[in-house]
Amino acid sequence: MSRTKPYSRTIPHPLFERLIVEDAMNEDKEAWKPERPHEYGYFPGCVDFMDVEVKFTHLNKGDADHASIAAASIKLLNYANIDPLILDMNIFKCSGHDQLWQGQLEVFDALKEHNMRRLKESGIKIITCSCAECYRTFAVDYDLPGTLGIKVEHITQTLQGRGLKFKAPEDVTVAYHDPCRLGRMMGEYEAPRDLIQLVDGAKMVELENNKERALCCGVSSMMYCNDATKAVRRKRLDQGSDAGIDLMLGGCPKCYMHMQCMLNEERMNPEEGHHHDYEMMDLMQFLVACLEEEN
């Protein structure tokens, strides 16, 4: 039996996708034990790889700092009196979300096997992620609550209801952009909004399409960045301009990456005439900025 149809399309491999695949295929059999037991584990995801991608390619024109999302998350967790075990890329591997959705099941299975073993060794009870894609992958595709009995939370759910207080450096109008993985797939719409409500001096407005009807940022699983997906993104950014916001907040580093990329590109090419007069930020970055002002 042979394939009668040739592949009509191939999946592009950005640099950091190649890095993750190489990482996944290098088997790491060494045992590992954390220095002391932790209840919470924090999984930063592939933000380091994203920074590598941004620095070595033309994407984002170089000023985005994704690793600051991880730093901000850890700071916020400490502020909420949580001492998390950092499940970083030295010990763990990428959660494999992109590989799964690109159809690379072999890579995903290798990543999953490694991460499941490490999670068993780590002895944590709750894993929290600042990335909506990792959250969905751990909860649904790994099925951690069912297999290892580890509760999976998005960081907004962890921080929700812990009596945190924030103060914005100046009065801002913000809007929350629902990531598809956190919103439509996992059904969490309220926790990020509750967190934004806690910020003193931040006025939250809803974009035209919100919650389960939220528009997509245009790229998922790093597959295509072309004119059509940019049009999807522009439509979403236009809604932000219509709402008159100063900041758009996202719950997923990927949304942040793609949106900020588009905004930067517009700024680099002002002759094209598309301009959105605001910034995109991850929710964690925004909250930390509000935290430091209070201190």
């Binding site: 439509r184 009807r213 997509c216």
Partner: protein
Amino acid sequence: MTEDNPSEVVDDDAIEMIYEHQEEQISLDTVNKLENREDHSVLEADMVKGEPLYPHEMTRDAVLTLYILALFFYLAAFVPPPLHKAADPTAGTAFPPPLPDWYLLWAFGCLKVATDLKIGLPLSLIPFLGLEDIEIFLMTAKVWGTLVQGLIVGLVVAVPFLDRALGALIDPQYGDVVNRGHERRPIEDPVRAAIGVYGIVMVIMLSIFSINANIAIYYPEVTTDVLNQLTIWGPIVAGVITYVFLDRRRSEGAKPLTDEERFSLYVDGIKDRRMQRIYEFKLNRCYQCGLCDDICPVRDMEGEHELNIIYNTFQNEHDGVAMWSCITCGMCTAVCPQNIEYIDYVLEQRALTTSGASL
């Protein structure tokens, strides 16, 4: 050449002008479409175009009604009904007895099956009191047989109201029927299908039971007792067989494919009946409302015409574009009235297509 025939020159020019005009129109349409994107989307669409009741429908219906009325008046005035001979009260009872119309035989059967309803209290079993057995008479066979008919019709009326409660009792997952919608095919809901078959067979058996006297003329061995047993057990056996058969088919259809089957599915498309069932289970709730299409951001930006994503995928008619340009944002599932998880299907298809080729 062109000087000999000036009309041709004009024709060429005209054709060029027409082309230019058409191109202008197309570009204008595209610009308009991009500028008025909202109009194209279900998010803002609040009106459905159609024909108004008045005057369109009203006029047509009035003409038809008056025409038929005129016909009745004509017939009543000029064609009187024929009169037959007067009835003879001295005529003997007919045998075999006359029967009601076939569609009322089940009601007739109810009347025949029913007996007098009594409750017997065996008081003589209580020692030392010397009481006698009492029999309480509840209702006669006539009343009971008539009430049973009303009971059956009432049950049919009550089904939509009882359905969800009973369904939730039988199958706890059935509780979210409000979001999920009903299963439309018997194979997806064996319990309800079995109850339906039980009812249909019951009506047929009651109808047969009601003509027992007529049957006895031709087949003396089919006695009333045999028919009685058939009326009780026939529907039950039919219902159980239906349930067992459908349940087996369901579990067979829900089984995942083996690697070999998946591969042949990619190469040859869906041919095997069993594989087809698996895809039906995912997508066959689609009733082509097109909401997914209206909301899909990819189609909004890329597609010129309607893709009808979910339906075309179910029909295996998508050209592969939907598979790889899908950004898996899940908006189609969010608006889908049947909650079809289209992105799960996309995930499966991508894994199928790239299996072994990703490294």
